[in-house]
Amino acid sequence: MTHTQKRILINNIVMVLSTLSAIIGICFLLWILSVLVANGLDAISATIFMQEGAPPGNINGGLKHALIGQLIIVSYATLFGVPFGILAGTYLSEYGQKSKLAEIIRDISDIMMSAPSIVIGAFVYAIVVAPMGHFSGWAGSIALTIIMIPIILRTTDDMLQLVPSTLREAAFALGAPKYKVIIQVVYRGAKAGILTGILLGVARVAGETAPLLFTSFNNNFLNTNMSEPMASLTVTIYNYATSPYEDWQKLGWAAAFILSMFILTLNILGRLFLLKKKGK
């Protein structure tokens, strides 16, 4: 075998191996999705959206309580996390820049992003749930907020830094004060990127179970009082899927399907925003 033939052979082997790995990965993903869609569609019905939780054996059980609970918990987390994350990201990109403090904040937020979410749940349990003496929707929202902030902070920081510095200089050169440069020029330039960061951040926390298990806990009935334990889709999936009752398991599938579709939609929207930006 000549040297060239050998190189072509190795090239082909590597190509086949990497293609095969990619196909195997996609197979698992499609497998998960197809099982989810098959079981989810089978379990989904109008009653699910109208009814609250019911004891096993009662055909009138639904997910209304979990859906609304999830929506409330994630909404509050978004309400707290987004402004906080954007302002902190603005500080890093526009004020802190390459300073020591800014670099430390970036490192810490990177560490927080990869921190296991159950650890954050335990932290919130210790500082909110234990002093209050009971689980609550607030505790769940706080846990999700803590998970969301570093994601939004880092994407905001990155997206703002992508705005060319000459654009800032041009605004300053017209006599603009710094806050107007940031709000009117820099934010506009980074709008699509920041929005994508928000969507990805919301999608990420919407799928969290561990930090809710011992913060917002669960509730079999519709509850909109944030000071009380609150149901969520993720914890409901956990409870129903591991139960021995077939009708609960079915509801678990339905919940998993609804949640997955929600997160999938957010992710696709996020990507569309970025594509739109690039296409410009």
């Binding site: 060319p164 300053f172 050169a173 006599g175 009117q184 330039g189």
Partner: protein, 261 residues
């Protein structure tokens, strides 16, 4: 010492023993520079890369203040006042001394909003006044006919040359006394370049212009005065036709004849 031609006109700016040191640098990038800038004339700054011409230009509107640690010394007089004093109102200064950059810097907003940006910063809200002045600025920048039907469109849809003229319109809309051009055509094709040069010459009627350029032909074509800088110092400032035909300094002659640079 530099050879500086006698300037009989009024002066827009006067640089006196000016030194500039970048943050963290040991030596100043501009050394003891003295230079008058004639009012309502075009002064070109030429010189090899790294000679300090852009650094000098960005000192006139204190652009260096955006980044921490840069140091000014000496004086730059504008209307008989030293603009290098720490408590100088930079917002007011930059309204009076505008700047055009190397790459077009159209803001991510509509064509109209781009031109109105500086005026709105000054608190002009009246719609009739705004649209009148936007139209005038766009006409002054010779781009009105191309954009008058799409003022509400995003400025990013314009070509590079159009964007640069939009930036000029935006700068003249606030009626500055001095306009600083930092290699305004280096990112443009020859036809757009010719358009911008024509525009710069016309603007001289109303504003004093300082233009940094890498292109000696451009300096010769548009400017009334030319300053040649080398290693952070002014070597020669002369009337453009004299400096290019009969330079007084040997270094100037070597540069304009292409012996180095």
């Amino acid at each position: 010492m530099a050879t500086i031609v006698e300037i009989n006109e009024q002066k827009a700016l006067e640089v006196k023993n000016f030194e500039f040191t970048y943050a963290g640098a040991d030596a100043p990038s501009i050394k003891k520079l003295t230079m008058p800038i004639a009012r309502h004339n075009i002064t070109a700054l030429i010189g090899p890369s790294g000679c300090g011409k852009t650094t000098l230009l960005r000192s006139f509107n204190r652009m260096h203040d955006l980044y921490p640690g840069n140091k000014y010394n000496g004086e730059i007089l504008f209307k008989d006042r030293n603009i290098l004093i720490p408590k100088e109102d930079l917002i007011k200064l930059r309204i009076q001394i505008g700047m055009i950059f190397q790459k077009p810097t159209a803001f991510p907003m509509s064509i109209f909003d781009n031109v109105a940006y500086g005026m709105r910063l000054q608190g002009i809200k009246n719609k009739t006044e705004l649209s009148g002045r936007v139209e005038k600025a766009l006409k002054d920048a010779a781009i009105w006919n191309e954009v008058k039907d799409r003022l509400k469109h995003d400025a990013s849809g314009l070509s590079g040359g159009q964007q640069q003229r939009l930036c000029i319109a935006r700068a003249v809309a606030v009626e500055p006394e001095v306009l600083l051009f930092d290699e305004p055509t280096s990112a443009l094709d020859p036809i757009s370049t010719a358009g911008i040069e024509e525009l710069i010459v016309e603007l001289r009627e109303r504003v004093s212009i300082i233009i940094v350029t890498h292109n000696m032909q451009q300096a010769a074509r548009v400017s009334d005065y030319t300053g040649f800088m080398y290693l952070g110092e002014l070597v020669e400032l002369g009337r453009t036709e004299e400096l290019f035909v009969t330079p007084k300094e040997r270094l100037t002659e070597e540069y304009i004849t292409g012996k180095f640079g």
